[in-house]
Symmetry: C2
């Protein structure tokens, strides 16, 4: 028979350990919920440095960030940092898609930690992103986008109903995948929905990357000027050799995620100039920009439909009478765009 003091000592130790365990666990997952974005300049306000963008005259209505939903497809070297930046900027809702698991081989990039090896990337990202207090609401999906049946309808249904309000579409889709098959599936879904999206990519030798804004019908889609692998219908899995892997650097991926999310903020919050294409050549520190018109003979039928719809909206803008619209629709896109620019100039002179 034990004495009461032994039992009391053991009970005290159990309480102590339980408290310690709770404390350690809280440190891992602590998340203060904050209802309103405050502009108050105090050390305890996680929004003060974001809301300062208003006082500095950069963004007119920063709080609007809380009303937007962004879908991030691919939560690897670029996608994970993209998701973290959006969370810390206070995005309303984030949808994450990835089929893959965290590996130690990913540790040369930012974000994932060695103890997360073996977890799904979406699950690990959720754990990390739960912590910063900026995000109001986050929903996460996990799905194989490399399965036997890589279908664009999976993306269509999630993009068209995944918004902050139930059944509403998302505001923007970001592609952070590392292969053409997944890009083509996202492209098809976005063309079908008329969903604006941004593409991103990093080269296999790790020293260049790019971002691209795609507005279906208005700009070239991913299929309008496809990479050789896609155009020649080559199965890209046959290109990967056993024992050979792509190089990657946290620097290049951090820069690409940074310019991607910067473009997202400029697009959603209406400030600065949104880039249609911005490249990054790390060897020479060269950052090319360009924009590309859609291909009228694009293989994607939804892209061709969106081009027609865009032409109609342009013609409506230029002229209101039915007869003029018919004449207008027979014109080429570049001619229409010139007409629109000339019309805007005339309006500016008159006003």
């Amino acid at each position: 028979m034990a004495t009461d003091s032994v039992v009391e000592g053991l009970r005290a130790r159990v309480r102590e350990l339980e408290e310690e365990l709770n404390r350690v666990r809280r440190h891992e997952t602590h998340r203060a919920k904050i209802g309103k974005m405050s502009a108050e300049v105090v050390d305890s306000n996680p929004y003060s440095r974001l809301m300062a963008l208003k006082r500095m005259g950069i963004v007119q209505d920063y709080e609007k960030i809380r009303t937007y939903t962004v879908a991030v497809v691919g939560v690897g070297g670029v996608g994970s940092v993209t998701a973290e930046m959006l969370t810390r900027c206070g995005i309303g809702k984030l949808l994450l898609f990835d089929y893959d698991k965290v590996e130690l081989a990913n540790m040369n990039r930012l974000f994932f930690q060695p103890h997360q090896a073996g977890l799904s990337k979406v699950e690990a990202a959720e754990h990390t992103l739960r912590s910063p207090p900026q995000s109001k609401k986050k929903v996460h999906f996990s799905f194989s986008i490399f399965g036997q049946s890589l279908e664009s309808f999976f993306f269509s249904s999630n993009f068209s109903k995944g918004g902050l309000q139930e059944g509403e579409p998302v505001d923007l889709v970001l592609s952070c995948v590392d292969n053409f098959e997944a890009r083509m599936a996202i492209n098809t879904a976005c063309n079908e929905l008329g969903q604006i999206w941004m593409e991103s990519g990093v080269s296999e030798n790790a020293v260049s990357g790019h971002i691209q804004l795609i507005k279906p019908g208005e700009t070239a889609c991913f299929a309008c000027a496809p990479p050789l692998v896609v155009a020649a219908n080559i199965d890209e899995k046959t290109l990967k050799r056993e024992g050979v892997c792509a190089a990657s650097l946290p620097t290049t991926m951090g820069v690409v995620a940074g310019i991607l999310v910067q473009n997202v903020l400029k697009y959603l919050l209406h400030f600065g100039t949104v880039s249609y294409y911005l490249g990054y050549n790390a060897m020479q520190d060269f950052f090319p920009t360009m924009s590309m018109k859609p291909n009228p003979s694009c293989d994607d039928k939804y892209c061709r439909q969106q081009q027609e719809a865009y032409k109609v909206s342009l013609c409506r803008f230029i002229s209101h009478s039915q007869g003029q619209i018919q004449r207008c629709l027979r014109m080429d896109l570049p001619v229409l765009l010139c007409k629109m620019v000339a019309g805007k100039r005339r309006l500016n002179r008159e006003s």
Copy 2:
């Protein structure tokens, strides 16, 4: 008196809790130590994607990264991401300097987590950076660089003796601070030592930034063309108003940290073109580059000494005889540089 079974139950619970606590804590601080950088392409190898840079023909000797020490002054929005990138790239040794504590107001940038609020930034960074397995050895310092006596000798002694080998200098110093006083202290220390360093900065409105490589005597130092606040000897603390804070974005800071560490990798591992100055204008996605020669009338006497030493080394390169060196030293730096370029061209033609 309690029964033996109660005691046994409590003892089992204590064991269970201790194991659970250890498991949770291990997850927080787990770090696999890896002696050699392996190029093997397996999911468990954290170096495979870095070593692939050799096979891709980008870097000749990636392993050399393990022999270098980099000092990072300022562990805020840029410095913390810089330190994480360097760690994940496998840097040999990292020295971190900061006086400040983590605040919730920092949560709109990458890296720090809300549960670290109140910890010193260096302490919190050490905890996070202990985890990735790439780094062989890391040493951390914490010191107020904003105290009553902001002295460059503190930096001098740490930079000159902080290398991987005891008593050796560091290989590179990175300035990631947010004020001119600290930049001037780093500048003085580096001029005195002839220590090559890189400057970085982000504007108060959060939408532009830059990096700059400074080679004492060869390029302009921070005092050669000082900002107005420094030139006019204004105490910058008088410029800060109560209740007003600077804006900041994780995007801009991520891009600046990315181009900074990319420049570090290119400089240390000899690939690509190292930038002397690279700016980032986020509003227009404009990335200006330039280089600046030192000011012969620089206020910093160490800078003027380094300029003289650089002229001597240039003259030695151009001509070996003593008489010629004396003539050569009377020439201006631009004339000397032209002579050197011409000499190199002649050598190339002859070989």
